[in-house]
Symmetry: C2
Subunit: 149 residues, 2 copies
């Protein structure tokens, strides 16, 4: 049975996911998409702004997306894509060996004006590390199908 956004309560809050940040994946992502030396090389990172190797913020965001998509799949909740993200905050460095978990809170939802068969929802995501520090937040805007009547 698919879960429709119409069926969850206001302020729905949900914790899920677990991704261990792997050193080889940090370097691989940085090599492809964000080749700044503090994401690539220990010696350069030691002299850089964070003092040690850190994951690209875009890699952290992408790991957060992976946890959302896996959770939606588990709940049989289908998104129809996203028009954008309202704000992203990189609050603490994410390092190889960190273990990230995700929270998602429904902030708002309304029927689409242009597509009445769709709901537009806004979620706040927070990623925490193994020390319970919030390392990343984002406000995602997503489209979902309305529940058929």
């Amino acid at each position: 049975m698919p879960l429709y956004l119409d069926d969850v309560e206001d302020g729905w809050k949900h914790s899920f996911g677990r991704i261990e940040v792997r050193r080889d994946e940090v370097i691989d992502f940085a090599r492809r998409f964000d080749p700044q030396d503090f994401h690539l090389d220990d010696d350069a990172a030691a002299r850089g702004p964070f003092g040690t190797l850190t994951a690209s913020g875009w890699h952290t965001a992408a790991m957060g997306m992976r946890m959302i998509v896996d959770e939606w799949s588990k709940l049989d909740m289908r998104s129809l894509g996203s028009p954008g993200i309202e704000a992203i905050n990189f609050l603490k460095p994410v390092r190889p060996g960190d273990v990230l978990t995700s929270e998602l809170e429904l902030l708002d939802r309304r029927p689409s004006n242009s597509r009445p068969d769709r709901v537009i929802a806004k979620f706040r995501q927070a990623l925490r590390n193994q020390n319970d520090d919030v390392v990343f937040t984002a406000r995602h805007i997503c489209f979902f199908p309305r529940k058929p009547v």
Copy 2:
């Protein structure tokens, strides 16, 4: 000679970069970070919200970051990381075969209050495809070193 942000004029605007969106990379990124079927599979995508296979928005953002980092490297401009992104808009689908280019415009810069050796800058990035459609915009906040006196 490094380029310091202190040395560029207000409203500095710059066009650069060229990335061809490869089908295998779209699917590889989606498999790792955004395994929604409209990013993975042609048949499912044909029935999905975009009608054809599209790149994950996070993949598009990451390709945009790659163009920025390559350009900074060419200009010998060093960033000290980012506290966040103010807004991301996914304006048009990005599809395999598309060719993306980037624009970056300096919107604002000021010395950091907490770290007077740093400048905080805000840039608007726009990515265009081969038809000159803007497919993606983002407002990046970045730290840079102040020019030594």
